[in-house]
């Protein structure tokens, strides 16, 4: 049984530090079936004015999702993710993920919605900012948000 998470405004998520390897960027692109050359071909990327190959947006979304559900556990159901890629994420250095709960709604359909702001930094520079809207059970007796009927799911 998963422990019920009770988010509150100002609650911080555990920091995640992730080495940015060439393998991570290429493996993420391949696993998301994205064969655009800027994600695996350094010469092509440099010709396009980029410093090196860059992490694709699908991999970034996957890492943000992992960061949030590592904290929430499997009952956390993401309804909406919005992110802005401010600088390219290239091989080298470490990406640091930080997040904080900025809003929590009242109970709706036995769920609460937590809004989480996230910042990914590499070498003290912000590379990506994101906001996640996640549903969680309102109480220990509430059904999991994954059981919410489609007609009542309004992310």
């Amino acid at each position: 049984m998963t422990t019920l998470l009770k988010p509150h405004i100002g609650m911080r998520l555990p920091e995640l530090a992730l080495p940015l390897t060439r393998k991570l960027i290429i493996m993420g692109a391949a696993a998301t079936r994205d064969w655009q050359p800027q994600h695996h071909d350094p010469a092509w990327a440099k010709e396009a004015g980029l410093p090196d190959i860059i992490m694709n947006n699908y991999t970034q979304a996957g890492l943000i999702s992992r960061f949030v559900t590592d904290w929430s556990g499997p009952m956390g159901r993401i309804g909406r993710l919005r992110f802005a890629m401010r600088r390219p994420i290239c091989p080298g250095g470490t990406a640091t993920f930080n997040g904080m709960v900025v809003d929590v709604t009242a109970e709706q359909q036995a769920m609460i919605w937590a809004e989480i702001d996230i910042e990914i930094m590499v070498e003290k520079k912000t590379v990506t900012t994101a906001t996640v809207k996640m549903a969680l059970p309102a109480t220990a007796r509430s059904p999991s948000p994954w059981h919410c009927p489609a007609v009542k799911w309004h992310p």
Partner: protein, 171 residues
């Protein structure tokens, strides 16, 4: 937007590219994604736990767009595969722009996908901004939405993408 080519104007607001069930959702493929990003969420891995939560293991929701990308090669296909977000490349090419990047993404997630599912994806051009000076040279921004539906027509999700195109193709 008076400076837009007529064909780009014609693409605005309606599905231009439809990718119709080109890949089957498979656990082996989504496991590669979980391995790449180090995601141990048991809903993607653990049958007993996912039975309680989601009836069966589900594909990571952030992989939704990946299920609408054609296989890069197929034995019975004469033409090249559609590029990832083909409409984006059509816009870029029609505007004579050399390079394009995704700068902002929004994913609205609905019904999760399971092993054996597939999606129909409709790519819709929403907006093209005026040409301007960007950090990477003369360029433009444009917005594309992609609506993903399961075979039964239920909504799997909506992806909204904001692009930056820069650099002119040499005449």
């Amino acid at each position: 937007m008076n400076d837009l080519p007529q064909k780009v104007k014609d693409w605005l607001g309606k599905p231009v590219i439809i990718v119709d069930h080109v890949v089957t959702v498979e656990q082996g493929l989504w496991t590669n994604f979980c391995v790449a990003v180090g995601d141990g969420n048991p809903l993607y891995w653990d049958y007993p736990l996912s039975r309680d939560e989601t009836e069966s293991v589900i594909a990571p929701p952030m992989m939704l767009p990946s299920w609408a990308i054609e296989h890069d090669w197929s034995p019975d296909r004469a033409a090249p595969s559609l590029r990832t977000l083909e409409l984006h490349f059509m816009v870029k090419d029609a505007l004579g722009i050399k390079n394009g990047l995704v700068t902002e993404v929004e994913l609205e997630l609905h019904e999760p996908l399971r092993h054996g599912d597939s999606v129909r994806a409709e790519q819709i051009l929403r907006r093209v901004e005026e040409e301007r000076e960007t950090k990477l040279g003369i360029g433009r921004n444009w917005d594309i939405d992609v609506v993903y539906r399961k075979p039964d027509g239920s909504l799997a999700g909506i992806q909204s993408l904001h692009f930056l195109g820069y650099g002119k193709v040499a005449a």
